[in-house]
């Protein structure tokens, strides 16, 4: 027994050595090394994207924007995700990417303020910092430009209108959000609350906002609890993909959607923000009538373009600057150096098959 054991430690050492070859991830160069001389590396901008966490299809779609436009803009693209989505998990990733010699770091921050010091240190090394999809709300000075999905002020009104039209502008409604400290979610929920003060929506009553933490398990329990607590609930807005999919699952299991077996007073209507692939089945089954999202790939394309321009100093990160992206149209740097990359699309039974992300 004992003599056999030492054989076991060899594979571990080998594994550490070998897996380096298999798992390095790069999308344009054949080698990940910063200094590998290649014919075009002199002109290419090295951009690294850091999503909130690994294994999220939303960010895979966002990355596809970088990849599809890499040749057009002359970008050598790579990405690296932290294992978890907690506030500080991105700190070491940012340091590692700066050390790798990346010239631009595009980041979807997990926290609006825990990364300030780290980002400043990277900037001091000459790295251009761009936030994408989420922003450093309140700490905008620690990045040069924030690329956001769409005009946030439109999300509240559009979502409320979407739900209102489906329930005849009357009845109790609830919101299923992600985490209670997500700046995007809170901005949208604020927008919804403000919209609900409009006389048009005076008969719609927001009874509760619950948080599913973007986990299927918690989102499901919270939705079930909502239904138990508020027997007269008519509508739920879930402005997050995981939440929307979880709520759709609950409605489908309990058969509470309009027209389903257990539907009371017209049925429970569900809408929100989500990716089409996750909700195709629910939309076709009628559990979700309509929902919205932007195309995350747009964020990647705009961030990639801005990265190359800021790096080459062809563009200045200044409010009011206008620029044109070939094939995408014109954009403007707005208040707090925010650029809006796309706009909301409403998905319905009719059009959902046209989208694949």
């Amino acid at each position: 027994m004992k003599t056999r054991l030492h054989i076991l430690s060899l594979p571990i050492l080998a594994m550490i050595a070998i897996s380096g070859c298999g798992s390095t991830k790069t999308d344009s160069g054949s080698k990940p090394d910063a200094s590998t001389p290649s014919a075009s590396s002199g002109t290419k901008t090295k951009i690294a994207f850091i999503p909130k966490s690994a294994g999220n299809p939303y960010f895979a779609r966002l990355e596809s924007g970088f990849k599809s436009s890499a040749d057009q803009f002359g970008v050598e693209f790579t990405s690296q995700a932290p294992t978890t989505a907690d506030a500080t998990s991105q700190i070491s990733v940012i340091k590692d990417q700066a050390q790798r010699g990346e010239e631009v770091i595009v980041l979807s921050p997990n926290s609006p303020d825990a990364l300030n010091e780290t980002l400043d240190q990277a900037s001091a090394k000459g790295v251009v910092i761009i936030t994408a999809d989420a922003d450093l709300t309140g700490n905008e000075s620690h990045r040069s430009i924030g690329v956001l999905s769409c005009d946030f002020s439109t999300i509240g009104p559009e979502q409320v209108e979407l739900l209102g039209a489906l329930i005849g502008y009357e009845g109790e409604i609830a919101i299923l959000s992600a985490t209670s400290d997500a700046p995007n979610q809170n901005a949208w929920i604020e927008g919804m609350k403000k919209t609900l003060t409009d006389p048009k929506y005076s008969k719609m009553k927001l009874v509760e906002v619950v948080y599913g933490n973007d986990e299927p398990q918690k989102s499901t329990t919270e939705t079930e609890a909502l239904i138990t607590k508020h027997p007269n609930l008519r509508g739920i807005i879930a402005p997050t993909s995981v939440g929307l999919a979880a709520a759709a699952q609950v409605l489908s299991q309990k058969e509470l959607a309009p027209g389903a077996k257990n539907a009371k007073n017209g049925g429970l209507v569900l809408t929100g923000l989500g990716t089409p692939n996750e909700l195709k089945k629910a939309v076709k089954a009628g559990t979700v009538a309509k929902f919205q999202l932007w195309d995350p790939a747009d964020i990647g394309i705009v961030a990639s373009y801005l990265g190359t321009q800021l790096r080459a100093k062809k563009l200045e990160a200044k409010v009011g600057t206008k620029f044109e992206i070939p094939g995408k149209g014109s954009f403007e740097i707005k208040d707090k150096n925010i650029v809006i990359a796309g706009k909301l699309v409403t998905f319905t039974k009719e059009n959902i098959d046209q989208y694949d992300f």
Binding site: G55, P57, E215, P216, V242, A245, Q253, N277, E278, K280
Partner: protein, 313 residues
């Protein structure tokens, strides 16, 4: 009856916290939690009785739910029993890895399963290849297992709950009617004495970790059926704590050798009711962790206090 006091207290606490738990709707919600908690807890129970611990069960659940999801994605018309078999086999294989490291390489269970907790979670990410399993890939017939079943008035005894009850019966039979099953208790109570009496330690330890893995694998399939989606990072993550809490509340002797499956069932009902009560009561997310930790602490202290005299330290 006296021995059931601690697990029963949890149920009473949950219902005192929230009278609304008596409604059919809440009972249905509890019945959705129960199979997950009970099934995985059964496996953990045997490991603890054998004097070990398995904290990789959450990661095994994650891996098996991802695997079943991926198989469904490739082959949506796969028969359901086959899907469940895939999950159980996945769990069994991972459980055997734990078992081999504990029983054959003689490594401490806590360290083995802390290591495999990370490794199995990593494997779930690897097989996922950056994707998640969404509701669109899981067939309706599979998710319906969690809300269809035998109707009892307004309450539905769903198929998952029935499965977990059948598993409980099987475990009860295994631990009382087979030599191997009974030897687990003997081994956990006195590993050296049992060894001396010639009961094969390797066989017992391999069995309990393999069974724990298989039950966690089944739990992964239940997770997918219950929630309709699975992400490599979050599926089953942290579930090991719920399960260990259940085993502890059931008054299982945590150093091994003693425990009752009957009390485990009561504890699982209590934990499920507590989960539902915390959500329905609208105890803000900010306070839930604190409440959950406090309840667990009180249970552990109360249970340990009863047998203070047995332990040094």
């Amino acid at each position: 009856m006296k021995r059931f006091i601690v697990p029963l207290l949890v149920i009473v606490a949950a219902y005192a916290l929230l009278p609304r738990l008596f409604t059919a709707d809440s009972t249905n919600s509890i019945l959705l939690w129960l199979p997950l908690v009970l099934t995985v807890a059964l496996g953990e129970f045997l490991v603890v009785v054998a004097g070990g611990i398995d904290i990789s069960v959450g990661s095994i659940m994650g891996f098996s739910s991802m695997t079943v999801g991926i198989v469904f994605k490739a082959n949506p018309s796969m028969p359901l029993p086959l899907a469940i078999l895939v999950a159980v086999v996945c769990g069994l294989i991972l459980g055997l890895i734990n078992g081999a490291l504990v029983a054959r390489a003689k490594l401490p269970p806590l360290i083995v399963t802390i290591g495999t907790l990370a490794t199995f979670r990593g494997l779930a990410f690897l097989i996922a290849k950056g994707e998640t399993i969404t509701g669109s890939y899981v067939p309706d017939s599979f998710t319906k297992l969690s809300n269809h079943g035998i109707p009892l008035g307004e309450v539905t005894l769903n198929w998952l709950a029935i499965t977990s009850i059948l598993c409980t019966a099987a475990f009860l039979w295994f631990t009382t009617n087979t030599a191997l099953g009974r030897s687990i208790f003997a081994f956990g109570g006195q590993p050296e004495g049992a060894l001396r009496r010639g009961i094969a330690a390797t066989r017992i330890q391999t069995t309990v970790y393999a069974l724990s893995g298989a039950m966690a694998g089944l739990g992964g399939a239940m997770y997918l059926s219950r929630f309709g989606q699975a992400q490599p990072g979050s599926a089953g993550s942290g579930f090991e704590l719920t399960v260990i809490a259940t085993v502890a509340i059931a008054g299982t002797k945590l150093t091994g050798g003693a425990g009752s499956i009957g009390k485990l069932v009561v504890a699982a009902i209590g934990v499920s009711a507590l989960n539902v009560a915390l959500s329905i009561q609208g105890i803000s997310d900010d306070w839930q962790t604190l409440v959950y930790g406090s309840v667990l602490l009180v249970m552990v202290c109360a249970d340990s206090f009863r047998r203070r005299s047995e332990v040094v330290v």
